[in-house]
């Protein structure tokens, strides 16, 4: 089996390094960051923290080098999905492409370029500490499911099995929208609030007025999910309160707050923007998500 990881940032690197340990899988890592790619080609891809791994994926920044693959795993930031799949689609003419990205709309973008798309949500997280080296912060489950009828569940199971054997526990399910929307609602309801106020997750949640705003955002997201017949696999409210505990993620600065502090474009279009878009398609009003979306876009515009 040949798998190409498209976008080898922290999450992509976790998949690439672990999968490359399997005897029956050939792994390619495609990324535009030349230093990272060169380091992987030279020294391998090293994970530290939650697991100690040195993987040996093939790494390239040149999409033309990619051979035909059975699977793609797209792990870029959501705003890079289009260009990334446009460059690599040729490698998946006979394969399936899974997204493990944040947000809504990635599947649609992939489906515009490739035939068979797998919806996915992943919880493992980490950060690149230097080229070729990734700090593995959080282990967690990945859920994959067919995007539409063109992908047989058996194919999804084949990819899930490889990931699981590689130490990335992955479930194949018929409808993967539940975990996806649970994560999107969690992120859309908390990350921008942290980004706009500068507060960590725990400090957002301990202010009853802000926690109330978070609940308002969650309620809109749940209504949009329900209108599509999506059954969330867990209640975002409980997950938000759980994460606010001192021993869990009280001091965690949401990635969007980190993006704003570093003046990097955020994933707001694919979080709150996605909820607004699906809300409109299904006749569900989402005024708070619209407001938050506009405010964070305003923050990005303020950088000129």
């Amino acid at each position: 089996m040949r798998i190409c990881i498209v976008g080898c940032g922290a999450v992509g690197s976790l998949f690439a390094a672990n999968l490359s340990l399997l005897e029956d899988v050939e792994v390619w890592a495609y990324d535009l960051a030349r230093e990272h790619v060169e380091a992987i080609a030279r020294d391998g891809l090293r994970l530290t923290g939650a697991g100690e791994v040195v993987g040996r994926p093939r790494a390239t920044s040149d999409a033309a080098e990619l051979p035909p693959c059975d699977f793609g795993i797209v792990a870029t930031k959501a705003m890079h999905t289009g260009p990334a799949i446009a460059a690599t689609a040729h490698a998946f003419a006979d394969g399936c492409v899974a997204t493990v990205q944040n947000g809504l709309g990635n599947e649609e973008t992939l489906a515009a370029h490739v035939e068979r798309v797998i919806r996915g949500t992943t919880f493992p997280a980490g950060k690149i500490v230097e080229p070729g080296v990734v700090q593995w912060d959080v282990k967690g489950e990945t859920t994959l499911g067919p995007y539409d009828g063109r992908v047989p569940l058996a194919e999804v199971e084949r990819l899930a099995d490889a990931c699981t054997r590689a130490g990335m526990p992955t479930a194949a399910v018929e409808d993967a929208r539940g975990p996806q929307w649970r994560k999107v609602i969690f992120n859309a309801s908390t990350n921008p609030v942290g980004a706009l106020t500068g507060l960590t997750h725990g400090r957002v949640c301990e202010r009853p007025d802000l926690r109330g705003l978070v609940s308002g955002l969650v309620a809109e997201g749940k209504a949009v999910a329900a209108a599509q017949g999506i059954v969330l696999d867990a209640d975002p409210e409980q997950l938000i309160d759980h994460a606010a505990k001192p021993e869990v993620a009280y001091d965690h600065k949401a990635s969007m707050l980190q993006d704003v502090e570093a003046r990097r474009t955020t994933e707001i279009d694919f979080l709150n923007g996605g909820i607004v878009r699906f809300g409109r398609e299904h006749g569900v009003p989402t005024p708070l998500n619209e407001a938050i979306w506009a405010l964070v876009k305003g923050v990005e515009q303020s950088w000129g």
Binding site: T197, L199, R207, D209, L210, G216, P287, K297, G298, Q301
Partner: protein
């Protein structure tokens, strides 16, 4: 000659003081003695839309103030309570005029003395360069109306005095429609600016894409309009049009709330956004977006204070 005390010498107070000093006997009450000393020694300079340097009296000690015919309280809304307390028992012959943003300034002052009171809102703006130099940026008007123990005639006389000093002013029989127009405008524009870091520029009127800020600005204005209506106030100006006009001038105005947030100072959130949200609750109007903006700015402020 009319005796005028200008209390608070930020940009608005400095603009009033310098212009009025040409036609009245002006004394400036500052918070810091060094500021008063700078004004006494160097005079007060205005650049920009006016070009003048005036000599005037200045003190940081309320006890050193003589009586006056008119006292203009031009501090930030957040500094008004302590300022009014310092003036309690003084300026027995003065009519006192508030020019703070938001709502409630008149009541704060009324609690500290029985002066006749005038309400005012000002649309002029300036940039303070140092203690003795202010730049006059927007030469828009100050609107004045009676509040307690005053008549339209009193408002008109003060407006004439301000006009004779080279500033723009207009008297109103009832200031609330104008005050509320500015309240809704400020609650919307200042809040959005403080959260996004954007000065009040063209982004605030853009409605092309679904995520454009103009949608939010318009929705916030609509909520504010509903509160004004419930409060029985017929807005003098349409805050959305005020927004569009201001952004068309091509001038990137930095609302004070944005400057405060960037300098990590307390903002005028309570007298502006807080006042609007509380008025909405009092009148049973649902304002989810203003509530969200209010909570976000409040939390942002709490994060650095």
């Amino acid at each position: 000659m009319t005796r005028v005390v200008v209390a608070g010498a930020g940009s608005i107070g400095s603009l009033f003081a310098a212009h009025l000093a040409q036609v009245a006997d002006v004394c400036v009450l500052t918070r810091r003695e060094a500021h008063a000393a700078a004004l006494r020694e160097r005079g007060l300079r205005v650049s920009g839309r006016s070009d003048l340097t005036v000599q005037l009296a200045a003190t940081a000690d309320p006890e050193a103030l003589g009586d006056a015919d008119l006292a203009i309280l031009a501090c930030k809304a957040t500094d008004l309570e302590p300022l009014a307390a310092r003036l309690a028992g003084r300026l027995a012959g003065a009519t006192v005029m508030t020019v703070q943003n938001g709502l409630g300034a008149e009541e704060v002052v009324a609690a500290h003395g029985d002066w006749p009171l005038l309400s005012a809102v000002t649309f002029m703006s300036g940039t303070r360069h140092d203690d003795a130099h202010v730049e006059y940026v927007l030469d828009t008007a100050t609107w004045i109306g009676p509040f307690r123990g005053t008549s339209f005639e009193d408002a008109r006389r003060v407006a004439e005095l301000v006009e004779s000093a080279g500033l723009k002013a207009e008297a109103f029989h009832d200031l609330r429609p104008a005050q509320w127009s500015k309240l809704v405008f400020n609650a919307t524009v200042n809040g959005v600016a403080a959260l996004t870091g954007l000065p009040h520029d063209f982004h605030f009127a853009e409605t092309e894409r679904p995520s454009d800020l103009g949608h939010l600005v318009r929705d916030l204005v609509d909520e504010g309009r509903a509160v004004a209506e419930a409060a029985g106030v017929d807005l003098h100006d349409d805050p959305w049009e005020m927004n569009v006009l201001a952004t068309r001038r091509g001038h990137r105005h930095f609302p004070s709330m944005l400057e405060d947030v960037e300098a990590r100072r307390p903002t005028e959130l309570e007298p502006i956004n807080g006042a609007l949200v509380r008025a909405a609750r009092r009148h049973g109007v649902h304002v989810p977006l203003h509530t969200a903006v209010y909570r976000l700015v409040k939390a942002k402020e709490a994060g650095y204070s």
